[in-house]
């Protein structure tokens, strides 16, 4: 396992940013699809109706393709860095999703949410910083 510095760190961050953007768009498309069904409260009685409307919606399929692409990027990432680094860093979705929600769904973001986003950014930078020395001498066979 390579040390997480310089160009390698940049590559890892780039994969995470691309992966999380794809994942966030995937979530956004699923949300669009769910909104397009016109059913806001899914219960046992209308679950089949909801599922059939979702399957008929192009949003679901676009979202599914995005989430599949996201999954394989995740595996690619895991083949390069420790799980205990990659997993916290992938919480970037919590930042990208609100930004997409503000832009495309016109949702309002409250002060507590901004505070949370700042905490998450701090956490990601702390984790990526520690990755530099922790990834060397990994348990590679």
């Amino acid at each position: 396992m390579k040390k997480l510095t310089g160009i390698f760190l940049f590559k890892v961050l780039a994969i995470i940013a691309i992966k999380d953007t794809i994942e966030s768009f995937g979530d956004l498309f699923l949300k669009k699809g769910a909104l397009a069904t016109g059913i806001s409260n899914v219960v046992l009685s209308n679950m089949l109706e909801f599922a059939s409307r979702m399957i008929a919606s192009p949003w679901l399929w676009i979202g599914a393709v995005f989430l599949l692409a996201n999954f394989f990027l995740w595996i690619a990432l895991l083949s390069r860095v420790d799980l205990s680094v990659a997993f916290p860093m992938s919480s970037l979705t919590y930042i990208i999703v609100p930004i997409l929600a503000i832009t495309f769904l016109h949702e309002k973001v409250l002060l507590t949410r901004w505070a949370g986003i700042i905490f998450i950014i701090a956490g990601i930078s702390l984790t990526s910083r520690s990755a530099g020395n922790a990834a060397e001498g990994k348990n590679e066979p």
Partner: protein, 124 residues
């Protein structure tokens, strides 16, 4: 909080963590690869699909989604998300013991910060 809810959350956490450990074990078996072109990305997908650990992880992940939906049926999303973020801590501890990854102060502090952030996001 009912006993059923606690058990479901615990079960969900176990599925999520086990799935991630299997993904990591599978990913460690992959040869080094570039992802510069679409063709290289496709070749990478093909090579990852022949690894049993990755399929095992996918299966466990499916179980985790089912359990998660059952949790959501019991509680509000604003409570479920903070409860769910516990798996960040479980992954950190588990990857130290099961995957022999190093537990550093940076990783511990970073993970705790992220959990706090997720709780704040869910509260708003």
């Amino acid at each position: 909080m009912s006993l059923k809810l606690v058990l479901l959350i615990l079960l969900g956490e176990i599925f999520i963590c086990a799935a991630q450990f299997l993904f990591k074990i599978g990913a460690n078996r992959l040869k080094t690869h570039n992802l510069r072109t679409f063709r290289e990305y496709m070749a990478f997908i093909r090579s990852s699909l022949v690894i049993p650990a990755i399929w095992g992880g996918l299966l466990l992940n499916t179980f985790a989604v089912v359990v998660w939906i059952m949790v959501l049926a019991l509680v509000d999303l604003s409570l479920a998300i903070p409860l769910d973020s516990v798996h960040y801590i479980a992954i950190l501890i588990g990857s130290h013991f099961f995957l022999k990854e190093r537990l550093t102060w940076g990783r511990i502090a970073g993970t705790l910060c992220i959990v706090a952030g997720i709780v704040l996001v869910a509260m708003s």
